[in-house]
């Protein structure tokens, strides 16, 4: 049994029930099961209406009161050995717009020093669940080799049954062959020092290696004419008492608008599945003394430019100070990496998993281009390079998306208006 039809609710939202009370009826092709409560409680919200078909394990209702662990699994009550009805569970309330990860998942991520972005979210509304943190299916031998070689099993694709990671998968993911690793380190010639990388360097190295290996990248480059954008920025910043707006902030807002208007791009590849997001969260690559950080500006499609600027400044400051919280990172489909301030004319970036795109931004340049009257016209341009995950995005579509971003930047008043309704 993989799914069942929730045919009838026996309790209403707000109604209290006692252990043994019938909660609902689940029908499969073969049987109808009355599911009874294992403990006392109160239904706060019904998530699956009568008549809907739900997969086994999906939450069907939320319980009132504190979502204590005991209540979470309070009434998975199989009344027949041949069919297991979907357990109800008190999923965390979807009250805040930010997905509320399972409490056990948050605890585990904190304990293991995992960033939210490192864990695939399979829960409702993109929540990270406990299983997502724990779930690495690997054979004992694969685990042993991964341990010895320092390979993160999360970054290894399993080739065995049910995606099980086998020894051969770990060996393929091992940077050096075991034989080479076992060999005594060769003495370095004069003038060459061997330096053990610190944990941050090592983590970054592994992460980008995995990203480049596992994500089929392709790149598109587009020049954006930003004279109007620069003028708008200057006039906005001329006003006191408002957050100072940077080009990066405007890019974040532009990406937010583009994702809001083209929701088909707000998607990531999650291992033979695609996850689609409602909200346009934009990552911002920040260079800190501790290495790269990618805090996320939430809902940049709906936030005003001032709100984006304020949030981005706050996140950048906290990234510098090492004060980012797990809620500040992860879950962005696209990130911006701007190296313009260092004078580089363009940047071809590596996607930050599990995102699907990253935009590399070069320095603003002034140059002459042929104008409408064929006379040289002074223009200010940015080179934008969009790296895309080909598993979810094809070339022509990506070009449309990048053109849309450029169009927003070249019509910068749009940054001050809400998103157009997606057509």
């Amino acid at each position: 049994m993989t799914e069942g039809l929730l045919s009838e609710w026996h309790v209403a939202p707000g109604a209290k029930f006692r252990a043994g009370d019938m909660l609902f009826t689940v029908e499969t092709e073969k049987v109808a099961n009355e599911v009874e409560a294992e403990g006392d409680g109160e239904i706060a919200e019904i998530l699956v209406a009568a008549g809907e078909t739900v997969p086994v394990g999906a939450p069907v209702a939320r319980l009132a009161g504190d979502a204590g662990a005991a209540k979470v699994e309070a009434h998975a009550a199989p009344s027949s050995s041949s069919a297991v009805p979907p357990p109800t569970s008190a999923a965390p309330a979807p009250s805040a717009p930010a997905p509320a990860d399972g409490p056990a998942a948050r605890k585990l991520m904190a304990e293991h020093g995992l960033e939210r972005s490192e864990v695939p979210a399979t829960g409702r509304d993109g929540r990270v669940m406990k299983e997502d943190v724990l779930r690495v299916i690997a054979t004992p031998l694969a685990r042993r080799i991964a341990d010895a070689e320092g390979v993160d099993l999360r970054s290894v694709a399993g080739s065995g049954q049910n995606g099980r990671i086998k020894a051969r998968d770990v060996e393929a993911a091992t940077p050096t062959t075991p034989a080479a690793a076992a060999a005594a380190p060769a003495a370095q010639p004069a003038g060459v020092q061997e330096i053990a990388p610190d944990a941050m360097r090592l983590a970054t190295a592994r992460r980008v290696t995995a990203a480049k290996r596992d994500i089929p990248h392709f790149y598109l480059t587009h020049e954006a004419e930003i004279t109007a954008l620069s003028d708008l920025r200057e006039s906005l910043n001329a006003e006191d008492g408002r957050p100072r707006v940077s080009v990066t902030h405007m890019l974040i807002r532009a990406l937010g608008l583009a994702l809001e208007e083209m929701p088909g791009f707000n998607r990531i590849w999650a291992g033979e599945r695609i996850l689609a997001f409602d909200r346009a969260d934009i990552g911002m690559v920040a260079d800190t003394l501790d290495g790269l950080r990618i805090p996320v500006i939430r809902d940049a499609g709906a936030a005003s430019l001032d709100q984006v600027a304020r949030a981005a400044r706050d996140l950048a400051a906290r990234a510098r100070d090492g004060q980012l919280t797990p809620e500040d990172v992860g879950d962005s489909v696209i990130s911006v990496s701007n190296v313009g301030m260092f004078g580089a004319s363009s940047l071809t970036p590596i996607i930050n998993p599990p995102g699907a795109m990253i935009l590399g931004v070069g320095a603003e340049r002034a140059l002459f281009r042929p104008g409408p009257d064929r006379a040289p016209a002074l223009r200010r341009e940015l080179t934008l390079t969009l790296a895309c995950d080909h598993r979810v995005i094809d070339g022509a579509a990506a070009a449309r998306f990048l053109s849309a971003v450029v169009e927003i930047l070249e019509t910068p008043l749009r940054l001050l208006r809400p998103a157009r309704r997606p057509n």
Binding site: T139, P140, R143, R144, Q161
Partner: protein
């Protein structure tokens, strides 16, 4: 070397043991003038006389009881139970007396007896004449169990069992009785096989099949089939089930990282379960796939040929199990 059949190797081992040691005698049903139901004792009555080749009434409990008693007085009886199915009637003597005597007498007594009995199907002999009950004996501390897979082992393991100071159950596979193999002509060149040691029948590095009895030949066929696909399977003949060669299996698993256990007996609660559980424990970090078992389904052995063919494990099932563990 002479090519002989499995049943003749058993006969030769009995002959040689009786020649070598006057305390060895045979006891069983129809083993004298009739030469045994499967002819394992042919000609032995003529050579050694009725004092040492002792026909009994149809009472397996009496055969076992007399054997245990004789062994306690220092004789080396070799009892034949016509079908392993009938060993159920010997259980009290074997489990409560033979297996316990050494411990209960503080090591001052022992029961140097052998119980020979054929197991296995393939003869359309039905549910009461086809069973493989070796796991029952292997479960009892104090009993040893061996199961030869070819004529040379049938000779070598039976000789070792007769020499052994403790009760040994020698399980012969009746479908293998006609199997041919070589045995040296000179009696002194015929070797005993140490109880408790297995043998690598075919070396390989991709997966290990641990088998015994008739399943060894099936495992070899499965390995030969997979070799055509470049899958290199190691086959181990366990030879001895209690004690079994844990070190050899672990060593093999450490090289191949994949394990299949195959036997003709019912899979549930069988020898394979013990090996799988032990390797999942001491060999856990070596495993690169699930340990899979091949055995008969949890059902009585059927009479009819078609049904029995479907019931008995075979090379194809071992091959399928190998593919599953390697997937």
């Amino acid at each position: 070397m002479t090519e002989i059949r499995y049943i003749k190797a058993v006969n030769q081992a009995l002959w040689d043991a009786m020649e070598a040691d006057p305390s060895v005698f045979l006891i069983g049903e129809d083993i004298g003038a009739a030469g045994g139901s499967f002819k394992a004792t042919r000609d032995l009555l003529d050579r050694f006389g009725p004092e040492r080749v002792y026909d009994t009434p149809i009472s397996e409990a009496a055969i076992a009881g007399m054997a245990v008693g004789a062994a306690l007085t220092g004789m080396r009886p070799v009892a034949e139970i016509m079908f392993m199915d009938f060993t159920t009637l010997t259980m009290d003597m074997l489990v409560n007396q033979a297996a316990k005597a050494r411990s209960m007498f503080g090591g001052q007594g022992s029961v140097p007896m052998v119980l020979r009995t054929p197991h296995g199907g393939g003869l359309n002999a039905g549910p009461q004449h086809s069973q493989c009950l070796e796991a029952w004996f292997a479960h009892v501390p104090g009993l040893k169990v061996v199961c030869p897979a070819n004529p040379a082992d049938a000779y070598g393991l039976l000789r070792a069992a007769i020499d052994d100071p403790d009760p040994v159950i020698v399980v012969e596979n009746k479908a293998l009785y006609a199997m041919k193999g070589d045995l040296p002509d000179a009696p002194e060149a015929r070797e005993r096989i140490e109880i408790g040691k297995g043998r690598i029948v075919r070396p390989g590095h991709d997966a290990t099949v641990v088998a015994y009895g008739a399943a060894v030949t099936m495992a070899e066929a499965a390995a030969a089939n997979l070799a055509g696909e470049g899958i290199d399977v190691e086959v181990i003949d366990l030879r001895s089930l209690q004690p079994w060669d844990e070190g050899l299996v672990l060593e093999s698993l450490s090289r191949t990282h994949n394990l299949v256990v195959a036997h003709e007996a019912v899979e549930a609660f069988g020898i394979g379960a013990e090996i799988a559980a032990r390797m999942a424990d001491i060999g856990f970090d070596e495993l690169d796939g699930p340990i899979t078992r091949v055995g008969a389904p949890f059902a009585p052995s059927p009479f009819g040929k078609t049904l029995e063919d479907a019931y008995r494990p075979n090379a194809e099932r071992i091959e399928a199990a190998l593919r599953r563990t390697l997937a």
